[in-house]
């Protein structure tokens, strides 16, 4: 019983690792992102791991920036003067892109999401929560009378 359980857990963990590590064929993805106080359109950009991402940043009001967490690349745009950006999405996970130019009071909250699929950070953490949770339940149910802890 115990062994079976362990094998099963390892199977899940390994397949998640595999999913996280496997690379997809590189494709080029182009996005036209409009920035306007205090959000981006589109606000969520989804690509696959390995994609070449190209972005044109268009500002619709004031000077805005575009900094991508995890990739540390950035650009900025004035109205009528677009910014552009190119990078290879080689790290999976969800990252924020943020405005890097103070553009008004909500500037620190001006963010969008770049999702590089598969989002293994999330699936790994979620799997960890579920596995650990179930493990703890097993421990609890094996407790005998008077046993502490």
């Amino acid at each position: 019983m115990k062994i079976k359980c362990q094998v099963f857990c390892w199977f899940i963990v390994c397949s998640l690792w595999f999913m996280a590590g496997s690379s997809f064929a590189q494709a080029e993805k182009f996005f036209e992102v409009k920035a306007k106080k205090f959000s981006y359109t589109p606000n969520i950009i989804e690509v696959n791991k390995g994609d070449l991402v190209r972005i044109r940043l268009i500002s619709e009001d004031v000077h805005h920036g575009f900094f991508v967490d995890g990739y540390a690349v950035s650009t900025s745009a004035h109205p009528g003067q677009d910014g552009s950006l190119k990078f290879t999405a080689d790290k999976p996970g969800r990252f924020c892109f943020r405005c890097s130019v103070t553009c008004g009071e909500f500037h620190p909250y001006m963010v969008g999401y770049l999702v590089v699929k598969p989002n293994s950070r999330f699936s790994m953490s979620a799997a960890a929560v579920i596995l650990i949770g179930l493990g703890s339940l097993v421990i609890v149910f094996r407790k005998k009378e008077n046993e502490q802890g």
Binding site: K36, F38, S39, Y40, T41, N43, I44, F67, D69, G70, Y71, A72, K91, G93, R94, F95, C96, R98, S100, T102, C103, G104, E105, F106, H107, P108, Y109, M110, V111, G112, Y113, N119, R121, F122, M124, S125, A126, A128, V129, I130, I132, G133, S136, L137, V140, F141, K143, K144, E145, N146, E147, Q148, G149
Partner: protein, 470 residues
């Protein structure tokens, strides 16, 4: 009987007295401490207020007040002050100092006579967390202002200081801190998780000391300003760490201890619906703050910053309903299921609901710490700027005025948030089952009754995980 060990590692009764070191005890007994930190913070808060006032309605990320309060102070509270040092902020908090000063008529020495002001007793019906719950929730209605507009921070802090002063003149001792201060409630709630505590050492010494000077005061120190009985209180929630009892105890019987995190969660004392709701409200606010501040939805930001009145009212309504009704409602359903699963008829649903609400403290604190990572890592570098130019007058005090905005470690933000949630989830589980054993008389009932609560905690963790990194 075998010892109850947290994660099978640390004995829950384990304590390590830090005041056994002579310099620490001497420090705690000195009247300069915590007076000096309070005065230092008073100085900082004067600058904050000034910067808030001068900064007016401008964008806040280059404002000293906004940055120190909402990046440095808030994050310090969530990262170290509360989880490690309990209510150490209240130890050095300058907000109530004017009221206390007026009561005592002395800043440094001990006034043995009658305290000034009206010294009225706080109404019994309000001796709980409800006012703080409402006050804190209402404060968050304005989060789209005070976290970004210097003037709004000025008004908020100014109001807190003013109310604290007026209440100090009317009500006895720290009534404001105990029952009104908006930052008090969550510190009290989450300080139950803290890894340190102030407690009396040897109950026998207290028993033989007929004149309870820690409660009544003597020439060395005031009677507990937080109206506790220092010789017998059992959880951190209502001890403001003012250290008066260290000074007034003639036998050095008060101690400052290290302990396993979360020890108070098992203390069945003053548990109630007010504290339960504090937990729900904190969870709700963490979600709403995340959605509006770290989420990508412009519509929501427009609501929170009141671009239209209608949008703003919609935000307030949803936020309030979520915190006060939806989360407690869902938790109620799971509590009910717990009762059904357990098969126990005697334990009241109310008791079960209240007891299990304490399982939300670790995961709530974890959600707040994870949220705070998302605030401090991207925005922390602004602090270097405002230190050099606090009033936006073009100063360059430390030569850091022109440091560009530099996000720090934001590539690892997702990992940090994920790990934080996971760790605090573990604490919730560890204390959760113990609370179940405390609630149900039989072990089998406790096991079965635990399943729905376990499910609730797991789902809550997964929800936060999905919000933050999914």
């Amino acid at each position: 009987m075998s010892k109850d060990k947290l994660f099978g590692l640390v004995d829950l009764d384990w304590r390590f007295e830090l005041t056994k070191f002579r310099p620490v005890r001497a420090l705690f007994k000195s009247r300069w401490f915590p007076l000096l930190p309070i005065l230092f913070n008073l100085f900082i808060f004067v600058i904050i207020l000034l910067a808030g006032f001068l900064g007016g309605y401008s964008a806040g990320n280059y404002n000293f007040g906004i940055m120190i309060v909402w990046i440095l102070w808030w994050v310090m509270l969530m990262f170290v002050l509360v989880p490690v040092l309990s209510r150490a902020w209240c130890l050095m908090c300058p907000f109530p100092i004017f009221g206390e000063w007026a009561q005592r008529g002395a800043l440094f020495g001990v006034n043995m006579g009658k305290l000034g002001g009206l010294n009225l007793k706080w109404p019994k019906a309000l001796k709980n967390m409800w006012i703080m719950n409402v006050f804190f929730l209402v404060t968050t209605f304005f989060s789209g202002f005070f976290t970004v507009r210097p003037l709004a921070t000025f008004i908020l802090l100014g109001l807190i200081i003013l109310i604290a002063f007026i209440m100090g003149l009317i009500f006895e001792k720290r009534s404001f801190c105990l029952y009104v201060c908006p930052v008090s409630g969550f510190q009290g709630l989450y300080s139950q998780f803290a890894t340190t505590e102030i407690r009396s050492k040897d109950p026998q010494v207290c028993k033989e000391h007929k004149l309870k000077t820690c409660y009544l005061g003597n020439e060395k120190g005031y009677g507990c300003p937080w109206l506790l009985a220092p010789f017998s209180f059992r959880k951190n929630t209502y001890c403001g760490m003012c250290l008066e009892c260290f000074k007034s105890c003639p036998y050095d019987n008060m101690a400052f201890n290290l302990r396993p995190p979360g020890a108070d969660l098992l203390v069945d004392d003053k548990r109630g619906l007010d504290e339960a709701w504090k937990s729900f409200i904190m969870l709700g606010i963490a979600m709403v703050f995340f959605l509006s501040m770290q989420g990508p939805w412009g519509v929501l930001k427009d609501m929170v910053r009141a671009s239209t009145l209608r949008g703003y009212l919609t935000f307030i309504t949803f936020h309030t309903v979520l915190c006060l009704l939806v989360i407690p409602g869902i938790f109620f359903v799971f509590s009910y299921l717990s009762k059904v699963f357990s098969g126990n008829k005697e334990v009241s649903l109310k008791k079960l609901f209240i007891n299990f609400s304490y399982t939300l403290i670790p995961i709530g604190l974890g959600a707040w710490i994870a949220f705070s990572f998302g605030i401090v890592l991207p925005n922390g570098s602004y602090i270097l700027h405002i230190l050099s130019d606090p009033f936006s007058w073009g100063w360059n005090l430390f030569g850091t005025k022109n440091v560009p905005w530099t996000p720090v470690f934001t590539h690892s933000l997702g990992y940090l948030q994920g790990i934080t949630l996971l760790v605090f989830y573990l604490f919730s589980l560890a204390y959760g089952f113990r609370l179940s054993k405390q609630t149900f008389p039989g072990l089998q009932e406790a096991k079965r009754g635990w399943i729905p609560i376990f499910t609730f905690l797991t789902l809550t963790t997964l929800l936060f995980l999905w919000l933050y990194i999914g």
